[in-house]
């Protein structure tokens, strides 16, 4: 006979790698996702209906199928329903589910281990707990739990249910908890005995939960994408533990793949906003500091009216819109697209300047604007658009702040110093749509707003854009 199960797992593993590879190129990305999904399906079928011995329907199939069906239905609904802008939350939630699954597996396997070791014939050498199984079980438990709890907290933070919460010397406390976890897990092994060791076991779980909370609580909501990516790789490792436990290759491959890819991805993300992973983890995101209307260097802001801006733009020959986090908050992408169309109709050349880390997740602006059917060719990446500002009449900055903050170039002391920015100050006129003088994600003041060329149109982005649309119509 042929080991169909093994082959199924092989196919699964390969399609994971292949899929992830394809996901790395814009053109094949979507297909890649399907490839990976296909591989997953094959692996699941292999697990359900085959053993290395050949065809054999797994026991308790009814429960399993029921759970899978339920999961499929609910999962699909959740994923389909979710708002584009709430995607990161979703990802975080699903990631947590994976962690939970890993933790549950470990718990069951642990009880299993107890019983087998407790069985009479094993009693005499009860202390001999197979470390080859113990390590993966505990590792899966701990990592899975942390990633579960962490993801839930991250999810809560992203949809605003949970706020940031810092406490003195958190690093030390976290470190202590981590060590405690390992210590207890070790005791649990040393003192192994079919009856009371379970106590240590539960302590381990408890500590893991606490660590999960402490780990994510202090981190600024804006850094969640990074954290999720990290927890993502955690879950990968947790799955890999299962792979070791069952000597199951597809779990191992998939888990490790995500573990390593996720870690790199986390690092790359941090680089893109030019923060160190360390800073992110110890929660050093500058929370929104209040702003003033006169700059350190004593300039003052010029407030403008929608009418003037409308005129300005209607008679401009080239307008560049710089979308930022505020556009997402205000859900102003549709009205923004409307404005763009009207200007185009007036013969104005309108483009969007996409900064790699505008918004709160990489590609946030692409996703957002694509949702309102903005033509993809109008979304220009930073390095390609920067040269064009010099020839631009009006730059409309919609809810963006840090990504247009000259301090990144001029002020070495600034937290965002070194981050590449959009050179909007090259343009003839700059109009900024935001609600107040408040700082952005980096929590720092923005000299640009005090620039003579720059006019502020205060108010919610959506409202302001709507005004502009009406004014342009009116003219």
């Amino acid at each position: 006979m042929m080991p169909y199960m093994e082959i199924g797992y092989l196919i699964g593993s390969v399609s994971f790698v292949l899929g992830l590879k394809m996901m790395g190129q814009p053109d094949s990305a979507r297909k890649g996702n399907l490839v990976a999904a296909f591989g997953m399906a094959v692996a699941v079928i292999a697990a359900l209906f085959f053993t290395s011995k050949g065809f054999h329907v797994i026991s308790n199939l009814q429960y399993i199928v029921a759970a899978i069906v339920a999961g499929t239905v609910i999962g699909t609904l959740m994923a389909k329903r979710v708002q584009m802008t709430a995607m990161p939350e979703m990802v975080s939630l699903f990631n947590g589910m994976g962690g939970l699954s890993a933790a549950l597996i470990s718990i069951i396997e642990w009880r299993h281990l107890l019983h087998t070791s407790a069985s009479p014939e094993a009693m005499d050498q009860a202390a001999a707990l197979p470390i080859g199984m113990y390590i993966p079980i505990m590792a899966g438990l701990i990592i899975g739990t942390i990633s579960f709890i962490g993801s839930i907290v991250a999810w809560g933070k992203l949809n605003g249910k949970i706020g940031d919460f810092r406490f003195p010397s958190q690093q030390i406390i976290n470190a202590v908890v981590l060590i405690a976890i390992l210590g207890v897990a070790y005791l649990n092994y040393g003192e192994f005995n079919a009856t009371h060791s379970s106590l240590y076991f539960f302590i381990t779980i408890g500590l893991a939960i606490i660590y999960g909370l402490l780990f994510v609580f202090p981190i600024g909501g804006a850094d969640m994408p990074v954290v999720i990516s990290l927890l993502n790789s955690f879950t990968g490792v947790a799955a890999a533990c299962g792979g070791f436990l069952y000597q199951n290759k597809v779990m191992l491959m998939g888990g490790v793949l995500v573990g390593s890819a996720g870690t790199i991805l986390t690092v790359v993300m941090c680089k893109a906003m030019n923060r160190s992973l360390m800073n992110v983890l110890i929660g050093m995101a500058g929370g929104n500091g209040g702003g003033s209307t006169t700059s350190a260097s004593g300039g003052s802001v010029r407030e403008v009216q929608a009418t003037d801006v409308a005129v300005m733009m209607k008679y401009a020959s080239k307008v560049i819109i710089v979308p930022g986090y505020g556009l997402a908050v205000a859900q102003a992408q549709h009205v923004c697209h409307e404005l763009e169309n009207m200007l185009e109709a007036e013969g104005v050349d309108v483009k969007y300047a996409i900064h790699p880390v505008a918004g709160r997740m990489p590609g946030h602006m692409n996703v957002l604007l694509a949702e309102s059917n903005v033509d993809y060719d109008k979304l220009i990446e930073m390095e390609h658009i920067n040269p064009e500002f010099a020839t631009t009449d009006v730059v409309l900055v919609v809810g963006a702040n840090d990504v247009v903050n000259p301090a990144a170039k001029t002020d070495p002391t600034s937290p965002i110093y070194g981050m590449p920015i959009l050179d909007v100050d090259q343009a003839k006129q700059i109009i900024v749509l935001k609600r107040s003088m408040k700082a952005g994600y980096a929590g720092i003041e923005n000299e640009l707003f005090f620039h003579p060329k720059c006019g502020m149109l205060f108010g919610d982005a959506k409202a302001s854009l709507q005004k502009l649309v009406n004014e342009v119509k009116a003219l």
Binding site: L20, M23, G24, Q25, P26, R30, N33, M40, A43, A47, L48, I58, S59, N60, Y63, I64, I68, I74, G75, A79, V82, M87, F94, N95, M97, G98, L100, S101, A102, I107, I108, R111, P130, I131, P225, N232, T235, A239, G242, Q247, N248, K249, V250, L252, G254, L257, G259, S260, A261, G262, I264, L265, V268, A272, P362, G363, N366, D375, Y376, D377
Partner: protein
């Protein structure tokens, strides 16, 4: 330590090491707009833990209720991870479909 180095464990170690390389290589050359979809895709892939949940269920004796309950739950949440993950990723990538070539993004 010895036990750790059993033959088949060693095989797994080879796989792990290689897979780490693969993961690193695959990600290091990716345009930043794809970071989120990639994260989401990877998230779906580690849903493979579902296989483990299925195996657990397979081993659980029908009278061991607690295992069955936990196991079923594990399968359920595992499936959520897989399905949800892939669907969300697909929706994200849908956004990129209008792209003609690949320059602007990279």
């Amino acid at each position: 330590m010895e036990a750790f180095f059993q033959q088949n464990t060693l095989n797994l170690i080879y796989l792990v090491v290689l897979m780490i390389f693969v993961g690193i290589e695959l990600i290091s050359h990716v345009p930043s707009v794809l970071h989120t979809p990639l994260m989401s895709g990877a998230n779906a892939i580690h849903g493979v833990v579902l296989i483990g949940a299925i195996i657990v269920m397979g081993n659980a004796s029908p009278d061991d209720t607690l295992s069955l309950v936990f196991g079923t739950l594990a399968v359920f949440v595992g499936t959520l991870n897989v399905i949800g993950g892939f669907v969300v990723t697909d929706r994200m990538l849908e956004m990129f479909k209008k792209k003609p070539k690949g320059e602007k993004v990279s």
